[in-house]
């Protein structure tokens, strides 16, 4: 569109103004959270918007010890990591089989996996809870790992089968001539080629798993296996009047994902976009 230079400049300024104002709406509460975490409670009430008078890490240290934050961090890392490994180990071979072989049960199995793509696993929580109890998995990390891996399966199978389908046939034939069996073709040749797909599956799932509160709330009772969201929710509830502790706890709880996001927001956004668009 041809427009007078001043009009174009005005339009540009207005667009920057709108987007900038919106960025403030999204960013400022997070900035405020971080700044407030450094202040003792009286200072929070006295000067809610100023910079902290001292940048002491004392409250963080208190939260780390009193909330057993180190333990929850370890649990969250272990559970999210194990869920991702289990999901990749089960969904990748299944997606490969569904994408690259023809067999009689294939349409049925495809439907079986895809049927769950729109249904949140929470709606089966009661039978799932009793199943976990009967298997003796309540209050263990395995209840969460199996639940997360199962709930990620439909999307992962669908996404990875798209990636596998796009690989050239010749690769497979060449490997077969070289004497690879079917498992070796999958593991040595094809799997490394869909690494972007595997990364997408991990990125799409890790954020909701890491932040999940619902299943830990129901499955985990003792402190030993509480994850960060559950441990923090209980801690916040107990210290609601001590704003300093709560804000430090919120910053600690958000820090792991926040750091990863700040370092690799580009990959994050690309992965999530790929997941959303293909799904």
């Amino acid at each position: 569109m041809v427009a007078a230079p001043t009009t174009r400049f005005l339009v540009r300024a207005v667009i920057y103004l709108i987007l900038g104002a919106l960025a403030v709406v999204f960013l400022y509460p997070v900035v405020l959270m971080v700044l407030t975490a450094f202040k003792p409670t009286p200072e929070i009430f006295r000067s809610p918007f100023g910079l902290p008078e001292s940048w002491s890490l004392d409250t963080f240290r208190t939260v780390w010890q009193r909330a057993k934050f180190g333990l929850y961090l370890r649990n969250s890392l272990l559970i999210t990591g194990a869920s991702a490994l289990l999901l990749l180990a089960t969904a990748a071979p299944a997606a490969y089989a569904l994408a690259r072989y023809t067999f009689k049960l294939k349409p049925v199995l495809f439907l079986f996996f895809l049927a769950g793509i729109m249904i949140p696993i929470r709606l089966g929580i009661l039978p799932l809870y009793l199943l976990m109890r009967d298997l003796g998995l309540l209050d263990t990390p395995f209840s969460l790992i199996f639940t997360y891996a199962a709930s990620g399966t439909p999307m992962a199978v669908f996404l990875l089968s798209v990636f596998f389908r796009n690989l050239p046939r010749e690769l497979e034939d060449a490997a077969r001539i070289d004497g690879c069996n079917e498992l070796q073709i999958f593991y040595r040749i094809m799997l490394p080629l869909v690494r972007p797909g595997l990364a997408t599956v991990v990125i799409v799932n890790v954020v909701p798993w890491w932040n999940d509160f619902f299943f830990p709330l129901l499955f985990i009772q003792s402190d030993t296996w509480k994850t960060i969201p559950l441990g923090m929710q209980i801690f916040f509830g107990q210290h609601l009047v001590n704003w300093s502790l709560v804000f430090s706890g919120m910053v600690l709880a958000s820090l792991p994902l926040l750091i990863i996001y700040l370092i690799m927001s580009r990959q994050f956004i690309a992965g999530l976009t790929a997941g959303a668009v293909k799904g």
Partner: protein, 320 residues
């Protein structure tokens, strides 16, 4: 495979040959079928049958047909809570949908220009999405505190002290406030998907429209928007599903019974109280049958609406 009698060597050979040709499929598929079947397909399917039985705590008693459904729909207080929650979930979805398809879409269209600094804006909008809903809930619980919260203090500082209200404590504003807090943490996702969709529209389409003398608005309405319909439909379906399962934010900010006086009660919190009991108000614990009936109705609602949504999405798909 099943019709091969065991022990007859002449007919065992085809089985062996079949196995030799297909064993790798079993290796590939069994783990996923086992994990997904046991921990997702089985619980979802058997929740249907749970709703048809009478339960005594976690023990199953006799078959009662649709009695649990009748209880939820007709007996007080279940009926009041159920219809209340349906209304609250609907408002949750409608308001979220309205925000993301106006503001979210608008921002995505602006961001698609890729000017200097736009990558930063996009990263900023998406940042709250990485926060746990537990943190989002507590953060806004503090910020919106009518005495000490930063929102109230800021308004007072601007001389707008009379605007300060206990937003989360009064019936008229509590639910809408929770929904807006949820939108703050969520909007980055629709913006991300819409931006990708806007950028996928071939540049020649816009050029052709401008050659024909279209204004910026006409270009958006007649070129971009129709091509965005599948993405809008997809995000809308996802929003519907998640909004009708929303739980964490209300549980964290307003408690399991959706205070004040059930004004923010949702289907999921109602379900949770019915199934696991409400420690805050000492309600009757463990009504598994009735809770399952609520769950099945949620499942049906989500299933029917998303099936319609997917059909609309497929119809609106344009190849280009």
């Amino acid at each position: 495979m099943t019709d091969v009698p065991a022990g007859t060597p002449s007919r065992r050979r085809p089985l062996a040959r079949w196995w030799a040709r297909h064993w790798h499929l079993f290796v590939f598929l069994t783990p996923a079928v086992l994990v997904y079947g046991t921990f997702m397909a089985y619980p979802l399917l058997s929740s249907l049958s749970y709703s048809l039985f009478e339960w005594d705590g976690f023990l199953r008693r006799g078959f009662t047909g649709l009695q649990n459904f009748a209880t939820v729909l007709t007996r007080w207080p279940y009926n009041d809570r159920f219809w209340g929650a349906i209304g609250h979930n609907t408002w949750f979805f409608v308001l979220t949908f309205a925000i993301q398809t106006t503001l979210g879409l608008f921002v995505a269209v602006l961001l698609a220009r890729k000017w200097r600094g736009f990558a930063f804006f996009q990263a900023a909008y998406f940042l709250p999405y990485t926060l746990s809903l537990v943190v989002v809930g507590f953060l806004w619980l503090m910020l919106l505190n009518p005495t000490w919260g930063m929102v109230a203090q800021g308004l007072r500082g601007l001389g707008l002290g009379e605007w300060v209200q206990p937003w989360l404590g009064q019936r008229a504003t509590a639910l809408t406030t929770v929904i807006l807090v949820n939108a703050w943490g969520w909007l980055g996702f629709p913006i991300l998907v819409y931006l990708a969709a806007v950028q996928a529209v071939p540049q020649e389409f816009h050029e052709a429209a401008f050659v024909d003398g279209a204004s910026a608005w006409q270009d958006f309405w007649h070129v971009t928007f129709p091509l965005l319909l599948p993405s809008i439909a997809m995000v809308t379906i996802l929003t519907f599903i998640w909004n009708f399962n929303a739980f964490e934010l209300v549980f964290v900010m307003q408690g399991a019974s959706g205070s004040p006086n059930y004004a923010t009660d949702l289907l999921a919190t109602f379900f949770y109280r019915t199934a696991f009991g409400d420690p805050t108000t000492g309600g009757e614990p463990g009504q598994i049958g009735i809770a399952s009936a609520i769950g099945v109705m949620m499942l049906l609602l989500i299933g029917v609406v998303s099936a319609f949504g997917v059909r609309f999405m497929q119809r609106s798909q344009t190849e280009y």
